[in-house]
Symmetry: C3
Subunit: 328 residues, 3 copies
């Protein structure tokens, strides 16, 4: 379905224009054609990365990795994406390193300083909305690498790419979403992504206190996503194309006791659960880190992609995004 070859040249130029010089702040900014183009480029990138082809696509370009909140995984992915394409990075890996902030500098000034040094800013911040703020301030592209509980659009793009690589389509899929449906920005964004395509259904399984808020359900249904809340593991339909597991985030709870109370009710993907409810062709996903989500005994199962293609697809989609926003 997402074949780029079906596009004529003028359309392609227009879609490219949706990326060149643009910020990547929210999943909301992507139309189906944008995703189609991105995935086409990501497949090219996969070839470059898998074969260690020395690429000079980003030669002469410098990407600031500005992490106000540390995140070794996302940092590593963007760092590798840049360097696999022959680009260079300017690494600010932790908040203490952003010393100007401690001297009282405003966020806006800091962004403009790094804008002067580099061609793209990849921003991670602990506060919601900071990616959009940076994008407003900077004239170079800003890529949101997670801003608090708001968005982490490249996570969703890599998740969609993983589904597309496996099933050849992003419509008419059934998926099971498990874990913290109240707080997980990953799940919220994934559902928004799936709602761009026709005929998708998600089954939700979460501790009672972490259910998807009613207004979110209404809004997503209005966008065309079919949503079914499950009461227990026994209700999992046997024909899901994917299971997507997320951890209960300890840092969201006021007290350790509150967290423990919820964590006790949380669900774990075990070999037994897969044996009973999972189809042969499904894939098991997790944005990582997995903490109390998936039993390591499942790792050797071929359907477990979280430590394999899902991480690698993050690299390929980020390589594609960098190349596209730089117009290369």
């Amino acid at each position: 379905m997402l074949q780029i070859s079906s596009l004529i040249q003028s359309e392609l130029a227009q879609i490219r224009g949706n990326f060149t010089g643009k910020d990547i702040v929210s999943l909301e900014q992507f139309a189906v054609d944008d995703i189609r183009l991105l995935f086409s480029v990501a497949r090219e990138m996969k070839r470059v990365a898998v074969n260690n082809m020395p690429s000079a696509r980003l030669a002469g370009y410098l990407v600031s990795l500005l992490f106000f909140e540390p995140s070794s995984r996302t940092f590593g992915s963007f760092c590798a994406a840049t360097k696999r394409l022959g680009g260079q990075t300017l690494d600010i890996q932790n908040p203490e390193a952003v010393t100007s902030v401690y001297k009282g500098e405003t966020f806006e000034d800091t962004i403009q300083v790094f804008e002067a040094y580099s061609d793209v800013i990849v921003l991670r911040h602990q506060l919601a909305g900071m990616a959009r703020r940076a994008a407003e301030v900077a004239s170079i592209p800003v890529i949101n690498a997670g801003d608090g509980n708001n968005e982490h659009p490249t996570q969703t793009l890599l998740d969609l790419f993983t589904l597309h690589e496996r099933f050849g389509r992003l419509d008419h899929l059934k998926g099971l979403l498990v874990g913290d449906l109240l707080n997980s920005r990953t799940l919220h964004s994934l559902m928004r992504g799936l709602s761009l395509f026709k005929g998708n259904t998600v089954y939700l399984l979460s501790p009672q206190l972490l259910r998807l808020p009613a207004d979110e359900i209404v809004s997503l249904r209005a966008r065309g996503l079919r949503i079914v809340e499950l009461a227990s593991e026994e209700d999992i339909p046997r024909d899901c194309a994917f299971w997507y597991w997320t951890r209960v985030q300890k840092e969201r709870f006021a007290s350790s006791a509150d967290y423990q109370a919820v964590a006790r009710q949380s669900f774990v993907a075990t070999p037994e659960l897969l044996a009973r409810y999972a189809s042969k062709d499904m894939i098991l996903m997790d944005p990582l880190p997995r903490v109390g989500t998936i039993d390591p005994a499942v790792d050797s199962d071929e359907r477990a992609v979280y430590l394999r293609s899902q991480i690698r697809n993050g690299l390929y989609t980020r390589m594609a995004l960098l190349a596209l926003v730089l117009g290369l």
Copy 2:
């Protein structure tokens, strides 16, 4: 005035020799001809950076960014300068990372270790005199990226370059210097730099407790700089070519109350102040971070260069310095 073309070849070779393999420790080491050559190279570098020209000038070279004191801005500038020229960096961004120091290693040993790994050491240190000490120990070039309250020569070079780019000369300029004239190494070095050229005048405006020390005034006047202390904003002459604003550095005060007392008396660059006293052709500078120095409402004024050319010029002059000390 600073045209390199006016130099004959043999002179040029000699001036280049003032850089090749040399340390950049203090502004005092530069003669007018050195600055002339540096700015000529910096203009070349600007072309490379602005056009994202993939440069291989520093290919095969490794620059250690050894920051015993973190400074994201200066780190970023030297990192970008190296990579824009095709070089690589070895990043030590914070004191905890210099683990050998915590194991009790001497500064001199640490410097010699990084000398063995790299071709240039860019050193930032919280203590005055450490850049010179490193330069004595290492046989490769050491560039001072700020050593305590002593010097930060590349800051002054970029400030002078900014003035030269704007006015085409560094002599017969009038400038207003505002803020912490007692402690600011930036202002002290800038005045020394201006004193290298004929006919310059600086007007000083500072809280009573932060005035330029009398012996500094004597010494700078002896070097030919005209110095006028102003009593209040009303005395600002309307024909200054530049205003240079600096913050009152909280970290210099024994108590927060002492700081507050002085900070209350400090001056702020507002649109009103510019409307009243600034000429049409002047530029407004700040070494950043600006904290209580310049009202953000001024940012959109074309004369405000602190978030624009002033930062970028830091990149170009550092690129030029790296190329020159490596003899490339």
Copy 3:
């Protein structure tokens, strides 16, 4: 003795196979022929590094420097080794940066994530055995850059290379080993390395509480190393080819008082000691940092290699290792 030219082509291919795609976890994995090949490549690397020859040998390759325990020296050496060969690094320099660990991720998951991003993992960890664990988990080569009190194989390889460069052989050498013979993994590994070659003798000098354990003595003698414990400095034989000094590691002691008690008994290499007991042709080595081991007055002595060839040889052997494990 270690001339690679004496090997025929088929043997060479086989020895290369001992490196390509392999992990470097322990010194125990090396046979004499492996070391012969490694040193031959290291000599090539020395030529590349000394002449700043821009090398593209590792172009397109990415090396994760995953330091769960900070170590600026070893980090710097591997970083420089990668970049001198045209490769790129993904830097995780301190434990706080490995954020996933703080979110509760297992070590095994973290390794698999960085495996997905890169071509080699260089691992430093505070716990013994973690390098082997990482090697079991990852399908790409893992190089042990020190795992707690277990091993630091590249340190020993660079020490052996330094001896070989100086004496043209690794057999029939006499060496003096001084310092913490109880805990120093550096000394333990060096003795194991020397025991691979015929006719070597080590003389041991240490505080009473830090003597080499009896079972270690038995095991090393069984491997063919001659071991002589010395009672005092006066017993140092005058014909040692090398002296190898190590510090008493403060962090090994329960209390500061315990450390002080031992440190008072420890030995220091002074100009006087060298004058009295050292031969003209010997070399003085130290793995650094030196803390209470070697008097700086010795630094200018030509026999002192610790701040000169010993560090540089670390760079060359690590360059060689990286090229060999990647099959380049």
